[in-house]
Amino acid sequence: MEIMLAVLAGFLVSAGAYLMMSGKTLPYLFGLTMISNAANIIIFCAGRLTFGAPPLIPEGEKYIEGAANALPQALVLTAIVIGFGLLVFALTLAYRSWFVLGTVEMDDMHESEPGTEVIS
């Protein structure tokens, strides 16, 4: 199971990196989302993967064997929520930049650095 998820994370990172190389705002953000999901999978795996073993400690005992650690799942939830908020902002920004600057090519956005047009 861990190996499958590791392969999935690797696949997500490579696909995401490929998308980010395109130099356009929207594919960049989609690629970034894929990579951030890969990061979430890494944290998820960090807490052990188990089938049908809820992390509930029976009464009178202190530890439980063979159950997944619940903390990484809480961490992942936080990371997903934060990542989602940032993605919404970034998508809105991409929309505004297309509307205000009239381009989706990041190489064509010189408004903040006048003088760089010649080089690129």
């Binding site: 951030s36 890494i42 944290i43 940032l86 902002f89 205000v100 903040s112």
Partner: protein, 494 residues
């Protein structure tokens, strides 16, 4: 509870300013009061840590390492104090700088959310919690950056957001690996768990992820391209806040995590950090020389200064770390003063482009002198505050026998002086292109007060350098040997 105030007060101010959205006057009053309250709480924390050493507080009463811990040692406490000082100065300055429209779209609530994120990031003793505070800070800074919606702001924000989101992902991936191998996210507990596991591949991988994340936040070579593209686009108050504090969070996180959690001495990351710092200094100063507008020059000098701080940390001896910390502290004040004075100059001359401004010396000589002091401090002219950390750094590198690093430090100082002289001659000394009569505007109280007080602080640090050297040496001791920090968080070792 004392340690939670720098988070609670800004959040509360954000709430009140959001509710007072109908009246900009009430918003301003609340915002300034919030900044003063933050300053007061920071002073209380600072004096407490100076007198009693590091303190810790547990959220919800859950003991470390299971709960979220807030810790203040001398480094955190001084950073929080600087947050308070800069917040007060910037918010006062914003009264005459930020437009009504920007205030309507939430300048004050966003600024205080940013301050809460800064306070939390400096005080937390938990690496996942640090990630959360980074995000609070990041989302507020996104908002502040695009408020106003000018095309150059949007174009700069695309680069800022794009690179910072990658850094965020690297940060969370590093924390995930760290938790997977160590089973804790409390930094003091991590110190104990990772002790003796320096060579582990998982530990090194997580360290590399975190180094990438903090280096992008701090604008270290080669991850600095977002900074000069975006820092000069928002209002002057916002760029002062960003340049004084937001990049410094990356530096602080590097200092904290790579001394407390990881032991980088002798590892593969040490030369990366050292050469990254040298190249950052070089790119910063040469970038500054190539620009022709005030805030863009200053943006590149931020990068040069960041290189200097990281160099001190990477060299690693007691004196060098103290030099890095000293540089960090005084640079917060100098950068805030410089960006605010850039705002005041642009208001006087009507532009921040070199070609379109000038004549300040002939029409406003006293103001020009006030500008000169932080500018000379940036260049490292004695006896101002920027001189002492450079001297300490040169001394520390010479003690280690690395002539090249001492030379790099001196050369950076020289080129910074050159960059500052260029700004001075173009904006202050030369005549205004429309003649000297072009400067008719006057500066009001909210512009003068923060400028003069920040400048006085810069002089004060320069003249009282002895006390500050002692303080930074204490901090360097705490960074090199974090026993007191660990005891404050985890209790006496059993």
């Amino acid at each position: 509870m004392l340690l939670f105030w720098p988070v609670v007060i800004p959040f509360f101010t954000a709430v009140l300013t959001l509710l007072a959205w109908r009246s900009p006057e009430i918003q301003r009053g609340l915002s300034l009061m919030g900044a003063f309250a933050l300053l007061a709480s920071a002073l209380a924390i600072f004096s407490h840590t100076l007198n009693y050493g590091p303190v810790a507080a547990q959220a919800g009463g859950w003991d470390a390492p299971f709960g979220i811990t807030m810790v203040a040692d001398a480094l955190s406490a001084t950073m929080v104090l600087l947050v308070g000082v800069v917040a007060t100065a910037v918010i006062l300055f914003s009264f005459s700088d930020v437009t009504r429209e920007e205030e309507h779209f939430g300048y004050h609530p966003l600024t205080h959310a940013l301050l809460a994120g800064l306070g939390g990031a400096f005080l937390t003793g938990d690496i996942f919690n640090m990630y959360v505070w980074f995000e609070v800070m990041l989302i507020a800074s996104f908002g502040l950056l695009v408020i106003g919606g000018q095309p150059n702001q949007i174009a700069g924000a695309i680069k800022y957001v794009g690179l910072n989101l990658i850094a965020t992902v690297a940060f969370i991936a590093g924390v995930g690996l760290l938790y997977g191998t160590a089973g804790t996210v409390n930094m003091s507990d991590l110190h104990n768990v990772l002790n003796g596991r320096e060579g582990d591949s998982v530990v090194t991988a997580s360290a590399a992820f975190l180094l990438f994340a903090f280096a992008s936040k701090a604008a270290l070579f080669p991850l600095f391209f977002w900074l000069p593209a975006s820092y000069h686009t928002p209002s002057f108050s916002t760029s002062a806040m960003f340049s004084a504090l937001v990049t410094k969070v990356g530096v602080y996180a590097l200092f904290r995590v790579f001394s407390l959690v990881y032991d980088i001495e002798g590892s593969i990351l040490e030369p990366i950090l050292l050469w990254g710092a040298v190249l950052t200094m070089a790119f910063g100063v040469f970038g500054a020389l190539s620009q022709s507008s005030v805030r863009r020059v200053l943006g590149y000098t931020i990068i040069g200064s960041i290189g200097m701080m990281i160099l001190g940390f990477a060299v690693g001896s007691r004196l060098a770390v103290a030099a890095g910390v000293f540089y960090l502290f005084q640079d917060v004040l100098v950068k805030a003063a410089l960006f605010l004075s850039a705002g005041a100059t642009a208001r006087l001359t009507g532009s921040e482009l070199f070609a379109r401004s000038g004549g300040v010396w002939r029409s406003r000589p006293f103001f020009a002198v006030v500008l000169l002091i932080p500018a000379l401090s940036l260049a490292g002219v004695p006896p101002l505050s920027g001189f002492w950390p450079k001297l300490m750094l040169v001394q520390a590198t010479l003690e280690q026998g690395s002539w090249f690093l001492a030379f790099a430090t001196l050369a950076t100082g020289f080129f910074m002086l050159f960059a500052v002289a260029r700004v001075w001659s173009a904006v202050i000394w030369s005549a205004h292109p429309d003649g000297d009569r072009a400067i008719t505007r006057t500066l009001d109280g909210p512009t003068w007060a923060p400028l003069v007080s920040l400048t006085l602080l810069v002089i004060f640090i320069g003249l009282n350098a002895g006390n500050f050297v002692d303080l930074t040496l204490t901090i360097a001791d705490q960074i090199i040997d974090p026993t007191a920090y660990l005891t404050a968080v985890l209790g006496e070792p059993k």
